[in-house]
Amino acid sequence: MTEQPYIEFRKVSKVFGSLTVVDHLDLTINKGEFVSLLGPSGSGKTTLLMMLAGFEDPTAGDILLGGSVLNRTPPYKRNMGVVFQNYALFPHLSVAENIAFPLKRRGVAKAEIAERVNRVLEMVQLPDQSEKLPSQLSGGQQQRVALARTLVFEPNVVLMDEPLGALDKNLREQMQYDIRRLHRDLGLTIVFVTHDQSEALTMSDRIAVFNHGKIEQIGTPQDIYDRPNTHFVAEFIGETNLIPVKYREGDHSRCSVTTKTGKDLEVTSPVTLFRGTEVLLSLRPEHIELGDSAEGLENAMPARISDVVYQGDHLRADIEVDGTKLVARLGRHLPPHDPGDEVFIGFRPQNARVILP
C-alpha cells in the first residue's frame, strides 16, 4: 500500500532579508504520523512549523495539505492546532473559557461546548480546574490546558513548538508520555519541533534532523541513531566516537578501513568509495566491548584505560588506543578496572559506521 502523503512541503524556501532560513526543502508527513523536527536553534525548524501554521508565508515553494495547496489559506481557516512553548493561554480567560475559545469561534452550541470542555479536561487529567485562571496553575498544568485547547476542536494537525522546553525534567517526562498516549489513542497527526534529541528519539515515528535550513537526514529514531549518514547527525544525536580512517575496500555495506597506525578494521558503510578516501568512523560508546585479551573480540585492539567514572546504571571509561582518545560505556557487571590498566577493546562490524567528513 502506497500511502498518499497528508502534508507535503515542495521546494519550500523562506528568506528573511539576506538570510535564508529554509532552503528548498522537501518533506512529506503521513496522516497519523508523529514527526519531530530536530535541530539546533536557527536551523529553520520553527520557521517551517510557522509556515505550516500560516503565521509565515513561504518565499518560494508550496505547502500542501491532503493534496491541496495551502499557501493562501489564512491561519484561522487551516484548522491546525498549535501548542506554543510559552503556552500562549489567554490570561484574562479561565481554563474553561480558554478551552471553549476555538469551539465558540466555530459556533458550537453551548451545551456541547460544556460537554466537550469537560471531556478534554479529563483527557489531559485536569478535571476540577476549569474555573481557575491560567496564572493560578503550574507550568505543567498550563501546558495541559494549552494541549486541551488544541485537542478540543479536533484539528487536522497538531503543531507543537518546543512545548516542553519550559518544564523541569520530571514533568517533562510525564508530559512526553501523555502526549504519546494521546497521539496513539486519538490517531493524531503531530509535527513536533524540538532541539532535545532524547525527546525526539523517545516520542517520534520519524525524525527530521535540520541543519542550516535543510534536512540532513530523515528516518525512524533507530535509523537516525544507529545509522547516521552525516557527520552532523552523528554528532548531534547521542554521543559518538569519531575516528579518522582511510577507506580500504568493500562491497556495498560491508567494508574494511585502515587506521592511522595501519590496523585494518571490519566496519559497515552506506556507500562504496575509492580506496584511500579519508573518512570518519562513528562508534557509539555503548558498542565498545572490553576484554583482558584479544580473544573473543572482533576488531580487537590493545588499549589503556585513563579514567573510569561511576554513573549509576553504567560506567563511563576514557580509553586511549594508539594515541586516539575514545569514550566507552561499560556495564556495571564487568570486573573493575583502574586507570592505567592495559586492556583490549573491540566492536562488531555492524556497529561501526563509515561517514563522510
Binding site: 484561522y76 489567554f90 485547547r149
Partner: protein, 391 residues
C-alpha cells in the same frame, strides 16, 4: 535599644525628603485652598465691634445707631491700609459700590475725631442694603464662595437661591470642562490604541522612531505646541489651504476658535499619556497570543476584540484616566485656540486668582473641581474593581 532604632531612623531619614515634599507641595496647598474657600475673616477681624453688633441685629430697618458708631470706631481704629483694603475688597465684591463708599467715608472719618453722621457723609448709608452686606460679611466663615461656585447665592432673607442665569455660568463651564475632557479622552483613545499596537508590534529602529514621534510633544513647551496648532488651524493655515488647494472645500473650514480645533490640539498634546500606558501593557503581553487566537480559528477582528482589547483594558483605563484628569485642568490651549464657548473652568479660576484677587472664589472653584474629580476617580475605582472581580 538605640542599636535597634538606628536602621529605622536611617530608613525614615531616607523618605523624609519625600514626605516633606508631599506635605509642602501637595497637602498644604490643598488645605490652604480648602480654608480659603470657606474662611471669611477680614470683616470679622478688622471691623470687630461692628461685627459683634451686627451679629445681634435682626436685619430689619432701622439700622441701630450703635452699629453706625461701631463702624466709625472700627474704621478709626484700623491704621493698617492693607487690612482695610481687604475689608473694602470683600465688601465691594458682595455689593458693587462699596469701594467708593468706603473711600469717601474713610476720608471723612480721618478729618475729625468727633462723632459722625454717616448718612451725611454719603446718602447710601441710609439704605439698609449696605448694612445687610456688612452684617452678612461679619461671620468668620462663609459658604458664599462655595455656593457661588455652583451658581447659588443667598438672598436678603439669607435663603439659598439660584443666581440669575446671566450672572453666573460656573455649572455650564464645569459641565463643558468635562465634555471637552471626555472628547479629548475618546479621540486620544481612538488614535492612541492603534498607535500603541503598531509600536508594540514593531522592533528595533522603527520602534524607536515611532516612540520618539509620540514623545516629541512632551519635549517641547506647551505654549510652543499650542501656537503651532494655531498657525496650522487658522483660516489661511496649513490645513485649510491644503483642503482648498485640493478642491475639497471652497471656503475655509472654521477650525480655529472652535471646539474642533481645541480638541485636535489637546489630543496632540495629551496623546503620549494614552499611548505609553497602553504600550507598556502590550509589551508585557506574550507576543504570540494573537497567533494563538488565529490558530484556534479566530478571524483577526474577532481576535482583536476577544483577546487584544480585553488584555489592553488596564492600559486603556489608566491612559484614559491620565488624559481625562490632565485635560480637566487645561487652560492655555482653550484660551488660545478656542472660542468663548470653549473656555474651561481653569480660566475662570485664573480670572479670580490673578485678575480680581478673589482668592475665596478661586479656592471654592478649585475645591468643586477637586471634589468632582475625586468622585469620578472613586467611580472609576469601583468599576475597575468590579471588572477584576468578574474576571
Amino acid at each position: 535599644m538605640t542599636a535597634r532604632l538606628g536602621p529605622h531612623l536611617k530608613a525614615s531619614a531616607l523618605v523624609l525628603p519625600l514626605v516633606l515634599f508631599l506635605a509642602l507641595f501637595f497637602v498644604w496647598p490643598i488645605i490652604a485652598m480648602l480654608k480659603q474657600s470657606v474662611s471669611d475673616p477680614v470683616v470679622h477681624n478688622t471691623l470687630s465691634q461692628t461685627s459683634a453688633i451686627a451679629a445681634q441685629w435682626n436685619g430689619k430697618a432701622p439700622v441701630p445707631a450703635a452699629l453706625q458708631d461701631a463702624l466709625v470706631a472700627d474704621i478709626r481704629a484700623t491704621t493698617d491700609r492693607q487690612e482695610m483694603g481687604a475689608v473694602v475688597r470683600r465688601l465691594n465684591s458682595a455689593k458693587s459700590g462699596f469701594r467708593t463708599l468706603m473711600r469717601k467715608t474713610r476720608r471723612a472719618i480721618r478729618k475729625t475725631d468727633g462723632p459722625i453722621n454717616l448718612g451725611e457723609v454719603d446718602k447710601r448709608w441710609n439704605e439698609v442694603a449696605w448694612w445687610h452686606t456688612i452684617a452678612q460679611a461679619s461671620s468668620p466663615y462663609t459658604d458664599r464662595y462655595l455656593l457661588a461656585a455652583l451658581d447659588y447665592g443667598r438672598d436678603k432673607h439669607n435663603q439659598i437661591v439660584a443666581l440669575p442665569e446671566d450672572a453666573s455660568a460656573n455649572r455650564t463651564i464645569l459641565a463643558r470642562t468635562f465634555v471637552i475632557s471626555l472628547s479629548v479622552m475618546l479621540s486620544c483613545l481612538a488614535i492612541g490604541l492603534p498607535f500603541a499596537m503598531v509600536i508594540a508590534s514593531t522592533s528595533g529602529w522603527l520602534r524607536n522612531v515611532l516612540l520618539a514621534a509620540v514623545l516629541l510633544p512632551l519635549w517641547t513647551s506647551l505654549l510652543v505646541r499650542t501656537t503651532a496648532w494655531f498657525i496650522i488651524l487658522q483660516n489661511n493655515g496649513l490645513i485649510n489651504s491644503a483642503l482648498q488647494a485640493l478642491g475639497i472645500t471652497d471656503q475655509p473650514i472654521p477650525l480655529i476658535f472652535e471646539r474642533t480645533g481645541v480638541i485636535i490640539a489637546m489630543t496632540h498634546v495629551l496623546l503620549p499619556f494614552m499611548v505609553l500606558p497602553i504600550y507598556s501593557v502590550l509589551l508585557s503581553m506574550p507576543g504570540n497570543l494573537m497567533q494563538a487566537a488565529s490558530s484556534l480559528g479566530a478571524h483577526p477582528i474577532v481576535a482583536f476584540l476577544k483577546v487584544m482589547l480585553p488584555l489592553s483594558a488596564r492600559g486603556i483605563a489608566s491612559g484614559s484616566l491620565l488624559v481625562f484628569m490632565s485635560s480637566i485642568g487645561y487652560y492655555i490651549t482653550p484660551a488660545l485656540i478656542g472660542g468663548p464657548s470653549d473656555q474651561m473652568i481653569s480660566s475662570v479660576i485664573a480670572f479670580y486668582a490673578t485678575e480680581s484677587a478673589n482668592w475665596g472664589m478661586a479656592g471654592a472653584l478649585g475645591l468643586v473641581l477637586l471634589s468632582i474629580t475625586l468622585l469620578l476617580y472613586v467611580v472609576y475605582g469601583r468599576l475597575s474593581a468590579e471588572k477584576k472581580g468578574v474576571a
